[in-house]
Amino acid sequence: MNEEQKERFRKKFSDLFSGYRAEWLGPEIFKLFTEPSYFPQLTTSHPCFIMGGRGTGKTTVLRSLSYQGQSALHGSDPNFGRHWPFVGMYYRINTNRVRAFSGPELTENTWSRLFAHYLNLEFTDLVLKFLDWYNVYNPDATKLSDELFKKLSVSLHLNNGEDQVGVIKKLELSRLEFEATINNIADSTHPPLSVQGGPIDLLLSAVKELPQFIDTSFFFLIDEYENLDDYQQRVMNTLIKHCGELYSFKVSIRELGLTQRSTLNEHEQLVHPADYKLINITDELEGRFGDFASMVCERRLDSVLEQDQHRPKIEKYFPELSADDEASKLGVAGIIEHQIKKLSKDNSFKQNDLERLKQFSPLEIYTLMCRAKAENKTILQKFSEAKKDISKWKEQYDNYKYSYLFSIRRNKRGIRKYYTGWRVYTQLAACNIRYLLELVDQAIINHLDSGEDPLKPVSPDIQTKAAQITGQKNLRELEGLSLSGAKLTRLLLSIGRVFQVMAEDPVGHTPEVNQFHLSTYVYSPDLHNKVTNLLREGIMHLALLRYPGSKLQEQTDIRQFDYAIHPIFAPFFGFSHRRKRKIELSDNDIWNLVDNPSETIRGILKRQNRSFEEELPEQMKLFAEYYALQDR
């Protein structure tokens, strides 16, 4: 590629790969859409909840289910449009609007009725917009009768909507009147309200009698369900529970976002799987995420390189380092050379033993030295043991070698641990397609910025630095993600530092500790609630991941889960991204890690027999002041 081609590639690549949010892609969203394996489950008429963290592709999936999405995806098919197996109508819960429906001016019961009326206006509008759109492409299709529109206008108290155009106009006016009512809710009695779901039932039952829609399922695609207040979820739950055969709901929600399971009837629950199917994106993609991620990236790369046959596959851009190669790049040879020199002067070490030891790889020798120290033995003793039972030693080596990689460049400048390879990148993303795209984007842009050929693989150094930058970027962004963003950032900075120091000092300790669980003792219910809410926010905003603990009995008890910092942050801190072992923390620990970080980090490290005084890795030095802070 010449310079001009490289620049063009860079721009196009950056435009496509940095557009990792559905709302940023515009019309490109459908062109780049890759169908996830769970997609067919969403096309059935049963209500579904798609559960996943930020960036797992929920919005993209819902928008692809919409009639605009289906039209963009299949519009070129000559049979498309004659028969619609389903029609999806996308609706995002707008926080700024739904928050207006609360306050002390009215009782919750009255707010529920007002909110249900608002949903009637919104959903009717969605259906009418679809019909408008459909009629443009199918001008000869059978239309709804004016009689129906008169009934609909009565049902919504629209005051004389004679036909479709009339109802649309009146609907807009009604919405403005309703807006004025809400804006002066303390002043007045509210306008006449429609029955929950009544107008939608009326309209869709008529639509489904039209010959073109007799076999069509209608879906309301509700995005960001977690933005609804508790009572608003109960209103929506009621619609979902009783939606019947006329229409159905496909709902996207973050983990822990469904705060209410009951309907407006407190004795009635929304039950999985009777009332809805729950699709957990992480579970669905587990084991298949690499392939899915590869397809997503390949489609974008095709778009950038215009189907270039000679370009490498996405996986080839990210070669992995073996543990031995990584150890060698980290400079293990320098450490063992010094030791071997010492051993060669040691008379107790026979020459042929020394030769045999040298046949071990440098990482194996380093691991042997570390194990000798951990077991309080001499290198000779440990080596003799290894010789005696080589298979046992190999097993021990396999168990420990990865954790000892973290210690080779302990307290040194530059990269202290490599994060390279497509497989590692997909593990860092942990089934989150946005994180994966961010990693790929950052790595390839850095690769191009260092003057490398766009068709050549990305070096381990660039891959690692890209992973560190991506972790750091997401850590900084965390502050603005939620109401507890600042606290979550502090929690991550503190726990991340604990795990980083533990990772760099593995000798004589449990290897690869990167999770925690909460101790069962509750110091105070108030503190426990604060910690519960913070961890909950952490999970909803992907600062943390949680896994069922060994004694999981009740989903709502936070003590019965194990928690890990999301692996996307691992390269920034420098600990293992693999899910391994855990430590126990108390409510007090968690809260103090936020409120009084340096002293608490010091205390926890002391309990783990580690020192607080370890040098910060280069990439963390931006936060040096944070770690230096004393009691706040």
């Binding site: 995002r92 928050r99 001016e105 403005l176 809400i182 900084r476 962004e477 502050e479 603005g480 109401l483």
Partner: protein, 323 residues
């Protein structure tokens, strides 16, 4: 042809707060916040015998309690009637709304009613001496300004339920120093990134402030690439902001404006005025920060905005709805 003469500024600037006195027979609505600069009216009160002071003494998200003529009056903020009654109880020749110490959710509903009044209406704002630097600065929190945010919710009386969808809007964040608030807005509003038009206060209250605004919001400006669309408007001038919004809107006549007033109060004032003149095609999105104590030091100039002189300016739009 568009001339600057069509964009008059109705602001009086007085360099020393102590040199200002409200006109006689006025109602002066004010409040004292956690900031030193909001205390300026205390010393006037005794010297302005013909001015009726209404001082905010208590508030929550839905109501406010004012002390006036030694009486406490509770007002529901989502009630034009109650605010109107409060303002009309005694006839005043002029009404001053001092926004310096009043939170947005209190002064904005008052302005909504005042905008329709016939007597002269003035807004008053005292610039701070300086902002407090954060003890632990990061790119998004250079200054220590907000304790926390309560979350996005409409200002009382400012909900917009129009039918326009997310994809049919322009997002206009009025930027301050707190990048985390901009980030939170982006995360919640999820605007189309090709239609984000941030506005930065230039000139700032002090010469260096625009640089802090860039620094604080750098990550978000870069990620959304919205730095390419930045517009400038003097940090202490609601009228200039109003004109900038009018200009942005006239270039995108099919789109609704979603304005996030997370910068200076005069900018928020300009945004609210703009909303009041274009209610069906504008949405105000606010995150309700809880101000930190001692977030600013001292006082600087006092700005008096004569709102009665600003006629509603309607940009040429394609989707205005006339009710």
């Amino acid at each position: 042809m568009h001339y600057k003469i069509d964009e008059p500024i109705f602001t009086s600037l007085i360099s020393d707060v102590s040199n200002f006195r409200p006109k006689q027979n006025s109602l002066y609505i004010t409040g004292i916040s956690v900031e030193e600069r909001s205390e300026h009216t205390k010393e006037w009160e005794s010297k302005c015998s013909h001015v009726n002071f209404a001082r905010l003494i208590n508030e929550n998200s839905s109501s406010a309690v004012f002390s006036i003529n030694n009486k406490d009056v509770t007002i529901k903020l989502r009630s034009n009637n109650e605010i109107e009654r409060f303002l009309d109880e005694t006839k005043h020749s002029n009404i001053y709304l001092d926004i310096t110490g009043l939170p947005h959710h209190i002064w904005a509903p008052f302005l909504r009613v005042l905008r329709n009044k016939t007597q002269p209406i003035y807004c008053v704002y005292v610039e701070p001496g300086d902002y407090r630097f954060s003890e632990n600065p990061t790119e998004t929190t250079i200054f220590d300004l907000s304790e926390k945010i309560e979350g996005i919710a409409p200002l009382p009386g400012f909900v917009t339920l129009s039918a326009m969808g997310d994809e049919e809007s322009i997002f206009v964040p009025l930027l301050g120093f707190e990048g985390a608030r901009f980030a939170y807005m982006l995360e919640t509003v999820q605007p189309d990134r090709t239609h984000i038009f941030p506005i930065i206060g230039v000139p700032g209250f002090r010469a260096e402030y625009p640089f802090y605004a860039y620094q604080g919001n750098r990550l978000q400006l870069m990620e959304t690439k919205s730095w390419q669309n930045i517009r400038f408007s003097p940090a202490n001038c609601p009228f200039s902001l109003y004109y900038v919004l009018t200009e942005i809107s006239s270039h995108h006549s099919e789109r609704q404006l979603r304005i996030a007033p997370i910068g200076t109060k005069p900018h928020a004032l300009g945004a609210v005025l703009y909303y009041l003149d274009h209610p069906n095609v504008t949405e105000i999105i606010y995150d309700h920060p809880v101000r930190k104590e001692k977030r600013t030091y001292g006082t600087s100039r006092i700005c008096i905005y004569d709102l009665s002189l600003l006629p509603p300016i309607r940009p040429m739009r394609g989707r205005d709805i006339i009710v």
